[in-house]
């Protein structure tokens, strides 16, 4: 028993266990369920029924079995490769997005630390800069898929994706600059703890969304554009270039693209929760003195999960509400409106901090 504990406490082993738990029990299942939920929820929005036919005997589980059906289908589907495609690049492209999406969870704390034990894979000093580095990796998935498919639509999609993601990355960083300045750190745990302060005694928690409202809107917009979901889904553009960069894929590799999209969606939701909605901190919990540690941890996990779920839902709702931007509109919005706004946000934040500090 002690030996097992000792092995578990070796940092590398502990990190591996945390990675497995967070990815296999939080990110992946939520992402997978969201693939079904998107179909169900969009049906509710549009007054339809949604998928409900997959069944074992009489049991359908209100469509829950479609998850199993989808999985089975993509496993047994033929894995095609177009003539003249670049085999190696074509093979590895789907996994860039997936890896980038999953890597986001490395720095996200699910609950507050208990003693030395943190509910976070790693709390590195660069923190969010690591996120920027990783999310910029996911553009490779789209570009490689587009160029290696030997298909003009896919190439167009890949080109659009790279242009869009690179330009939105610019002010994604700038939008977070305000957060760095307000909380004085890029370390995620520092930012989360900074949001546990209160204004006016214990009236309003200093959440990122209250200290940086404009930064929140800009960052959220940038992240939605990064995940290439509507209204910024010109790279996929069903109506003009069929499915964009992953047009030629089928079977499991196509599923990898889909799963990457939904894991990224969960990643966006948890990032927003962590940076702008107090992370795992339950507001006003400090007023209850002597709360048992285990209860606090459970409440924190619940609070974090609820907010994450809410933002998953919100992104899906947004997708089924807002019409698609034309590609030139996407670009104009990014460079002509959001970039100046985020620069202004940085300057104004700096002045406010100087004036009140």
């Amino acid at each position: 028993m002690e030996l097992i504990l000792e092995i578990i406490m070796i940092p590398a082993v502990l990190a591996t266990i945390k990675i497995l738990v967070i990815i296999l029990m939080f990110a992946m299942p939520l992402g997978t369920v969201l693939t079904l939920m998107e179909r169900k929820w969009s049906a509710m929005i549009q007054d339809r029924v949604g998928p409900n036919r997959a069944n074992i005997g009489k049991f359908t589980g209100h469509g829950a079995l479609h998850l199993a059906a989808d999985g089975l289908k993509s496993i047994f589907k033929e894995d095609t490769m177009p003539k003249g495609a670049d085999g190696f690049l074509y093979f590895i492209a789907p996994f860039f997005g997936l890896i980038a999406g999953v890597a986001t969870f490395a720095i996200i704390p699910l609950a507050g630390p208990i003693g030395d034990f943190t509910f976070q894979v790693t709390d590195i000093e660069p923190g969010l800069l690591f996120i920027f580095a990783i999310t910029s990796l996911s553009v490779y998935g789209a570009v490689l898929a587009g160029t290696s498919s030997n298909s003009k639509f896919a190439l167009l999609g890949g080109t659009r994706a790279s242009a869009q993601m690179i330009s939105y990355e610019v002010f994604m960083g700038l939008a977070l600059m305000g957060i760095f300045m307000v909380y004085g750190t890029t370390r995620v745990s520092g930012i989360v703890d900074g949001q546990n302060e209160y204004w006016f005694g214990s009236l309003i928690p200093m959440w990122g969304v209250f200290t940086q409202p404009l930064g929140f809107v800009l960052f959220f917009t940038a992240l939605v554009a990064e995940t290439k979901r509507a209204p910024f889904d010109a790279p996929e553009g069903e109506s003009e270039i069929v499915a964009g960069y992953f047009l030629e894929y089928s079977g499991m590799r196509w599923s990898a693209f889909m799963l990457a999209e939904y894991v990224a969606l969960v990643g966006v939701a948890s990032l927003i929760t962590t940076l702008f909605f107090g992370g795992y901190h339950v507001p006003w919990l400090h007023l209850w003195e002597g709360a048992p540690q285990w209860l606090v941890t459970i409440l924190q996990v619940i609070k974090f999960s609820l907010f994450t779920l809410f933002f998953c839902w919100f992104q899906i709702q947004l997708r089924w509400t807002v019409p698609k931007f034309r590609f030139d509109q996407t670009m104009a919005l990014g460079w002509k409106k959001l970039l100046p706004l985020s620069l202004a946000n940085v300057v104004v934040t700096a002045f406010v901090i100087l004036a009140f500090a």
Partner: protein
């Protein structure tokens, strides 16, 4: 000739440039539908087809049926009107002489090839005896072989209901399907040779 140019009026101004008013009013609408349907599918207009069927108007031309007369026997007198009028030539009738002389002729064979039928309803209008109708409400026929679509007389006729018929003498009379011309027309003097 000069091309006509229509200037499209675009909504401009700060309100439109910020997108938010439009996005929020859109979200208000979609969230309203979402919440209403999350608890009890109130607005859903979908008809779950095989379990629920759409209401079909009485005038809707569906699969044919052969009606029965008051005696419970087929009303059809094998007059060939429908076969003649049918634009797609999909009705095939062979007449026979009924054992009961008051009934005279009846269809020994009455086949409708529903694959060739265009559901025009002309056969129904042509019939002098109101013997063929298209009011079954069967709006879809899906089978896996062509032969199945060739509906025979016994498949087309109404099911017999003893309560609805005053004289059930011929009610479940098992309509004979004679194999030869002589058997079908026992009282005739034979078909004159031409």
């Amino acid at each position: 000739m000069e091309l006509k140019v229509k200037k499209v009026q675009r909504l401009d101004g700060v309100r439109e440039a910020f997108y938010f008013p439009a996005i929020f009013s859109g979200l208000r609408l979609t969230v309203k539908h979402f919440w209403r349907n999350l608890f009890g599918s109130k607005d859903v207009v979908t008809i779950n087809y095989p379990e629920e069927k759409r209401h079909v108007s009485e005038r809707w031309r569906g699969r044919h049926r052969l009606t029965r007369n008051d005696n419970g026997f087929l009303s059809c007198v094998a007059c060939y009107m429908c076969e003649t009028v049918c634009p797609s030539k999909c009705i095939h009738i062979e007449a026979g002489e009924h054992p009961d002389l008051s009934v005279e002729k009846y269809p020994v064979v009455f086949n409708i090839d529903e694959l060739r039928c265009v559901f025009c309803g002309l056969c129904v209008e042509a019939c002098p005896k109101d013997a063929i109708r298209m009011d079954t409400g069967i709006i879809s026929m899906a089978y896996t072989s062509r032969e199945t679509f060739d509906f025979t007389r016994d498949l087309l006729r109404d099911s017999y209901d003893p309560k609805a018929h005053s004289n059930p003498k011929y009610g479940d009379y098992d309509l004979p399907s004679p194999s030869s011309q002589e058997e079908a027309l026992p009282n005739s003097q034979g078909v004159p040779a031409t």
